[in-house]
Protein backbone atom coordinates (compact mmCIF):
# COMPACT_ATOMS: atom_id res chain seq x y z
CA UNK A 1 0.00 0.00 0.00
CA UNK A 2 2.81 2.36 0.87
CA UNK A 3 4.36 1.80 -2.51
CA UNK A 4 1.10 2.64 -4.17
CA UNK A 5 0.73 5.75 -2.08
CA UNK A 6 4.25 6.81 -2.86
CA UNK A 7 3.71 6.19 -6.53
CA UNK A 8 0.50 8.09 -6.42
CA UNK A 9 2.20 11.26 -5.37
CA UNK A 10 4.68 11.31 -8.19
CA UNK A 11 3.44 13.15 -11.21
CA UNK A 12 5.15 12.26 -14.41
CA UNK A 13 4.82 14.28 -17.52
CA UNK A 14 3.58 11.84 -20.07
CA UNK A 15 2.70 12.88 -23.56
CA UNK A 16 -0.99 12.58 -24.10
CA UNK A 17 -3.28 13.42 -26.92
CA UNK A 18 -5.28 16.42 -25.87
CA UNK A 19 -8.65 17.05 -27.37
CA UNK A 20 -9.64 20.61 -26.74
CA UNK A 21 -13.39 20.93 -26.42
CA UNK A 22 -13.15 24.66 -26.03
CA UNK A 23 -11.01 26.43 -28.56
CA UNK A 24 -10.64 29.48 -26.38
CA UNK A 25 -9.27 27.74 -23.31
CA UNK A 26 -5.57 27.34 -22.84
CA UNK A 27 -4.75 23.96 -21.45
CA UNK A 28 -1.87 22.38 -19.69
CA UNK A 29 -1.85 18.81 -18.52
CA UNK A 30 0.27 16.61 -16.33
CA UNK A 31 -1.02 13.15 -17.15
CA UNK A 32 -1.02 9.94 -15.17
CA UNK A 33 1.83 8.92 -12.97
CA UNK A 34 2.46 5.21 -12.46
CA UNK A 35 2.59 4.37 -16.10
CA UNK A 36 0.32 1.38 -15.63
CA UNK A 37 -2.52 2.97 -17.56
CA UNK A 38 -1.43 5.64 -19.93
CA UNK A 39 -3.85 8.29 -21.08
CA UNK A 40 -4.55 7.82 -24.74
CA UNK A 41 -6.98 10.61 -25.48
CA UNK A 42 -7.51 13.34 -22.92
CA UNK A 43 -10.51 15.55 -23.49
CA UNK A 44 -10.33 19.01 -22.03
CA UNK A 45 -13.56 20.37 -20.60
CA UNK A 46 -15.15 23.52 -21.81
CA UNK A 47 -14.95 26.47 -19.46
CA UNK A 48 -18.59 27.25 -18.58
CA UNK A 49 -19.48 30.52 -20.23
CA UNK A 50 -21.61 31.73 -17.33
CA UNK A 51 -18.71 31.13 -14.95
CA UNK A 52 -16.31 32.94 -17.26
CA UNK A 53 -18.66 35.89 -17.55
CA UNK A 54 -19.07 36.05 -13.79
CA UNK A 55 -15.29 35.64 -13.35
CA UNK A 56 -15.72 32.47 -11.34
CA UNK A 57 -12.78 30.09 -10.99
CA UNK A 58 -12.78 26.64 -9.46
CA UNK A 59 -11.40 23.17 -9.10
CA UNK A 60 -13.00 19.76 -9.54
CA UNK A 61 -11.56 16.34 -8.76
CA UNK A 62 -13.18 13.49 -10.65
CA UNK A 63 -12.40 9.86 -9.83
CA UNK A 64 -13.08 6.89 -12.06
CA UNK A 65 -12.08 3.38 -13.03
CA UNK A 66 -10.47 2.47 -16.30
CA UNK A 67 -11.62 -0.80 -17.85
CA UNK A 68 -9.52 -3.25 -19.85
CA UNK A 69 -10.25 -1.45 -23.10
CA UNK A 70 -9.19 1.90 -21.66
CA UNK A 71 -12.62 3.37 -21.24
CA UNK A 72 -13.48 5.37 -18.14
CA UNK A 73 -16.09 3.88 -15.84
CA UNK A 74 -17.90 4.88 -12.64
CA UNK A 75 -17.08 8.55 -13.10
CA UNK A 76 -17.88 10.58 -10.02
CA UNK A 77 -17.01 13.95 -8.57
CA UNK A 78 -14.94 13.54 -5.46
CA UNK A 79 -14.33 17.16 -4.62
CA UNK A 80 -15.54 20.40 -6.10
CA UNK A 81 -15.26 24.05 -5.26
CA UNK A 82 -18.12 25.07 -7.52
CA UNK A 83 -20.89 22.97 -9.03
CA UNK A 84 -20.71 24.92 -12.27
CA UNK A 85 -17.56 23.02 -13.19
CA UNK A 86 -18.70 19.51 -12.30
CA UNK A 87 -20.69 18.70 -15.42
CA UNK A 88 -18.02 19.74 -17.94
CA UNK A 89 -15.36 17.92 -15.91
CA UNK A 90 -17.34 14.66 -15.80
CA UNK A 91 -18.19 14.97 -19.49
CA UNK A 92 -14.53 15.40 -20.35
CA UNK A 93 -13.53 12.35 -18.31
CA UNK A 94 -16.23 10.21 -19.90
CA UNK A 95 -14.98 11.17 -23.34
CA UNK A 96 -11.34 10.48 -22.45
CA UNK A 97 -9.63 7.14 -23.01
CA UNK A 98 -6.57 5.24 -21.78
CA UNK A 99 -4.38 2.72 -23.51
CA UNK A 100 -5.96 -0.75 -23.40
CA UNK A 101 -4.57 -3.17 -20.84
CA UNK A 102 -1.97 -5.51 -22.25
CA UNK A 103 -2.84 -9.19 -22.68
CA UNK A 104 -2.35 -11.24 -19.54
CA UNK A 105 -2.30 -8.28 -17.18
CA UNK A 106 -4.77 -7.86 -14.38
CA UNK A 107 -6.83 -4.81 -13.60
CA UNK A 108 -5.28 -3.18 -10.56
CA UNK A 109 -8.49 -1.89 -8.98
CA UNK A 110 -6.81 1.41 -8.42
CA UNK A 111 -8.98 4.35 -9.05
CA UNK A 112 -7.70 7.22 -11.13
CA UNK A 113 -8.48 10.73 -10.07
CA UNK A 114 -8.17 13.66 -12.39
CA UNK A 115 -8.20 17.21 -11.11
CA UNK A 116 -9.35 20.03 -13.33
CA UNK A 117 -8.36 23.55 -12.37
CA UNK A 118 -10.44 26.18 -14.09
CA UNK A 119 -8.94 29.59 -13.87
CA UNK A 120 -8.94 32.88 -15.68
CA UNK A 121 -5.82 34.72 -16.58
CA UNK A 122 -5.77 38.40 -17.47
CA UNK A 123 -5.45 39.09 -21.14
CA UNK A 124 -2.89 41.67 -22.10
CA UNK A 125 -3.98 43.59 -25.14
CA UNK A 126 -1.39 45.51 -27.10
CA UNK A 127 -2.38 48.85 -28.48
CA UNK A 128 -0.61 49.98 -31.62
Amino acid sequence: MMAIRAASTIALLVAATLSVADDTANVSASPDDTGERMPLHTVVPKYPEAARQARVEGEVEVCFNVDRRGRTRRVAVRRSSNRAFEKPAKKAVRASTYRPLAEGRELSGIKTCRTFRFFLSPVVIETP
Binding site: M1, I4, R5, A7, S8, T9, A11, D22, T24, A25, N26, V27, S28, A29, S30, P31, D32, D33, T34, P39, T42, V44, P45, Y47, R52, Q53, A54, R55, C63, R74, A76, R78, G109, I110, K111, T112, C113, R114, T115, F116, R117, F118, F119, L120, S121, P122, V123, I125
Partner: protein
Protein backbone atom coordinates in the same frame (compact mmCIF):
# COMPACT_ATOMS: atom_id res chain seq x y z
CA UNK B 1 -26.65 48.85 -39.66
CA UNK B 2 -27.06 45.14 -40.16
CA UNK B 3 -30.19 43.43 -38.98
CA UNK B 4 -28.03 41.00 -37.04
CA UNK B 5 -26.40 43.75 -35.01
CA UNK B 6 -29.75 45.33 -34.32
CA UNK B 7 -31.09 42.03 -33.09
CA UNK B 8 -28.05 41.51 -30.88
CA UNK B 9 -28.45 44.90 -29.27
CA UNK B 10 -32.18 44.33 -29.01
CA UNK B 11 -31.42 41.32 -26.90
CA UNK B 12 -29.39 43.45 -24.54
CA UNK B 13 -31.38 46.63 -24.06
CA UNK B 14 -34.08 46.67 -21.45
CA UNK B 15 -37.45 47.41 -22.93
CA UNK B 16 -40.23 48.27 -20.58
CA UNK B 17 -43.81 49.37 -20.81
CA UNK B 18 -45.81 46.22 -21.31
CA UNK B 19 -47.38 46.70 -17.93
CA UNK B 20 -48.37 50.22 -18.80
CA UNK B 21 -49.32 49.53 -22.36
CA UNK B 22 -51.59 46.65 -21.47
CA UNK B 23 -53.38 48.77 -18.95
CA UNK B 24 -52.47 46.66 -15.97
CA UNK B 25 -51.33 49.73 -14.12
CA UNK B 26 -54.66 51.36 -14.85
CA UNK B 27 -56.35 48.24 -13.56
CA UNK B 28 -54.41 48.63 -10.34
CA UNK B 29 -56.04 52.05 -10.07
CA UNK B 30 -59.47 50.35 -10.16
CA UNK B 31 -60.09 51.13 -13.82
CA UNK B 32 -61.17 48.41 -16.17
CA UNK B 33 -59.07 48.55 -19.28
CA UNK B 34 -59.29 45.96 -22.00
CA UNK B 35 -56.31 46.06 -24.32
CA UNK B 36 -53.49 48.56 -24.38
CA UNK B 37 -54.13 51.90 -22.73
CA UNK B 38 -51.70 53.51 -25.16
CA UNK B 39 -51.70 51.44 -28.35
CA UNK B 40 -48.83 53.31 -29.99
CA UNK B 41 -46.61 52.90 -26.98
CA UNK B 42 -47.57 49.25 -26.78
CA UNK B 43 -46.95 48.66 -30.47
CA UNK B 44 -43.66 50.52 -30.23
CA UNK B 45 -42.51 48.22 -27.47
CA UNK B 46 -43.59 45.22 -29.52
CA UNK B 47 -41.64 46.49 -32.51
CA UNK B 48 -38.57 46.90 -30.31
CA UNK B 49 -38.97 43.43 -28.89
CA UNK B 50 -39.17 42.15 -32.45
CA UNK B 51 -35.92 43.94 -33.25
CA UNK B 52 -37.37 46.70 -35.43
CA UNK B 53 -35.79 49.76 -33.84
CA UNK B 54 -36.85 52.25 -36.52
CA UNK B 55 -40.49 51.28 -36.23
CA UNK B 56 -40.11 51.21 -32.46
CA UNK B 57 -38.92 54.81 -32.46
CA UNK B 58 -41.72 55.93 -34.77
CA UNK B 59 -44.48 54.33 -32.75
CA UNK B 60 -43.02 55.28 -29.38
CA UNK B 61 -42.79 58.93 -30.44
CA UNK B 62 -46.43 58.70 -31.49
CA UNK B 63 -47.29 57.11 -28.18
CA UNK B 64 -45.51 59.85 -26.27
CA UNK B 65 -47.78 62.42 -27.93
CA UNK B 66 -50.76 60.72 -26.35
CA UNK B 67 -49.09 59.95 -23.03
CA UNK B 68 -51.67 60.57 -20.36
CA UNK B 69 -49.46 60.40 -17.28
CA UNK B 70 -45.90 60.59 -16.05
CA UNK B 71 -45.43 56.83 -16.06
CA UNK B 72 -46.32 56.60 -19.72
CA UNK B 73 -43.96 59.41 -20.54
CA UNK B 74 -41.12 57.83 -18.58
CA UNK B 75 -41.73 54.46 -20.17
CA UNK B 76 -41.81 55.99 -23.63
CA UNK B 77 -38.56 57.85 -23.10
CA UNK B 78 -36.94 54.76 -21.62
CA UNK B 79 -37.90 52.80 -24.70
CA UNK B 80 -36.60 55.58 -26.93
CA UNK B 81 -33.29 55.30 -25.09
CA UNK B 82 -33.32 51.56 -25.76
CA UNK B 83 -34.22 52.16 -29.41
CA UNK B 84 -31.37 54.55 -29.99
CA UNK B 85 -28.92 52.18 -28.32
CA UNK B 86 -30.10 49.56 -30.79
CA UNK B 87 -29.66 52.06 -33.63
CA UNK B 88 -26.22 53.01 -32.24
CA UNK B 89 -27.25 56.65 -32.02
CA UNK B 90 -25.68 56.78 -28.63
CA UNK B 91 -25.79 60.51 -27.87
CA UNK B 92 -29.53 60.52 -28.52
CA UNK B 93 -29.88 57.42 -26.37
CA UNK B 94 -27.98 59.08 -23.52
CA UNK B 95 -30.25 62.10 -23.77
CA UNK B 96 -33.43 60.04 -23.41
CA UNK B 97 -32.03 57.91 -20.60
CA UNK B 98 -30.96 61.13 -18.85
CA UNK B 99 -34.49 62.48 -19.14
CA UNK B 100 -35.89 59.31 -17.63
CA UNK B 101 -33.49 59.40 -14.72
CA UNK B 102 -34.16 63.08 -14.09
CA UNK B 103 -37.76 62.10 -13.37
CA UNK B 104 -37.16 58.75 -11.73
CA UNK B 105 -33.74 58.03 -10.32
CA UNK B 106 -34.72 54.45 -9.49
CA UNK B 107 -35.39 53.37 -13.07
CA UNK B 108 -33.07 50.40 -13.44
CA UNK B 109 -33.78 49.92 -17.15
CA UNK B 110 -32.59 53.44 -17.89
CA UNK B 111 -29.41 52.90 -15.86
CA UNK B 112 -28.83 49.60 -17.63
CA UNK B 113 -29.43 51.02 -21.09
CA UNK B 114 -27.29 54.06 -20.34
CA UNK B 115 -24.52 51.77 -19.12
CA UNK B 116 -24.76 49.89 -22.41
CA UNK B 117 -24.54 53.16 -24.34
CA UNK B 118 -21.49 54.22 -22.30
CA UNK B 119 -19.97 50.81 -22.88
CA UNK B 120 -20.36 51.12 -26.63
CA UNK B 121 -18.71 54.53 -26.40
CA UNK B 122 -15.87 52.92 -24.40
CA UNK B 123 -16.62 55.13 -21.42
CA UNK B 124 -16.02 52.37 -18.93
CA UNK B 125 -16.06 54.46 -15.77
CA UNK B 126 -19.45 55.96 -16.62
CA UNK B 127 -20.72 52.52 -17.61
CA UNK B 128 -19.53 51.10 -14.28
CA UNK B 129 -21.33 53.80 -12.30
CA UNK B 130 -24.61 53.25 -14.11
CA UNK B 131 -24.27 49.51 -13.92
CA UNK B 132 -23.72 49.62 -10.18
CA UNK B 133 -26.95 51.60 -9.86
CA UNK B 134 -28.80 49.10 -12.04
CA UNK B 135 -27.39 46.20 -10.01
CA UNK B 136 -28.47 47.78 -6.74
CA UNK B 137 -32.01 48.33 -8.08
CA UNK B 138 -32.41 45.03 -9.94
CA UNK B 139 -29.82 42.61 -8.63
CA UNK B 140 -31.38 39.56 -10.25
CA UNK B 141 -31.98 40.97 -13.71
CA UNK B 142 -30.49 38.84 -16.46
CA UNK B 143 -30.12 41.93 -18.67
CA UNK B 144 -28.08 43.68 -16.01
CA UNK B 145 -25.89 40.62 -15.56
CA UNK B 146 -25.31 40.44 -19.30
CA UNK B 147 -24.19 44.05 -19.45
CA UNK B 148 -21.94 43.40 -16.43
CA UNK B 149 -20.31 40.54 -18.32
CA UNK B 150 -19.87 42.74 -21.38
CA UNK B 151 -18.28 45.48 -19.32
CA UNK B 152 -15.93 43.02 -17.65
CA UNK B 153 -14.95 41.59 -21.02
CA UNK B 154 -14.32 45.06 -22.41
CA UNK B 155 -12.50 46.57 -19.45
CA UNK B 156 -10.96 43.50 -17.87
CA UNK B 157 -10.67 40.72 -20.43
CA UNK B 158 -9.68 37.25 -19.31
CA UNK B 159 -8.67 34.04 -21.01
CA UNK B 160 -10.07 30.78 -19.66
CA UNK B 161 -7.41 28.26 -18.77
CA UNK B 162 -7.68 24.69 -17.58
CA UNK B 163 -5.01 22.60 -15.93
CA UNK B 164 -5.43 18.84 -15.77
CA UNK B 165 -3.66 16.93 -13.03
CA UNK B 166 -3.83 13.13 -12.89
CA UNK B 167 -2.99 11.21 -9.74
CA UNK B 168 -3.64 7.65 -8.73
CA UNK B 169 -5.67 7.03 -5.63
CA UNK B 170 -5.89 3.73 -3.78
CA UNK B 171 -9.35 2.25 -4.24
CA UNK B 172 -9.83 1.71 -0.50
CA UNK B 173 -9.72 5.47 0.06
CA UNK B 174 -12.63 6.17 -2.24
CA UNK B 175 -15.34 4.63 -0.16
CA UNK B 176 -16.89 2.72 -3.02
Amino acid sequence: MSKLLTQRLQALVSIGCLCLAFGLCAAQENKTVIGPSNPDLHNGAQALLAGDAEEGVRLTLLGLRHASNTRERITGMSNLCASYVMLEQLDTALSYCGQVLAQNDRHWRAYNNRALAHLQMERYIDAEQDLQKAESLAPNSRKVKTVRAMLLDAADPVAPQIVIDDRRQPADNDGD
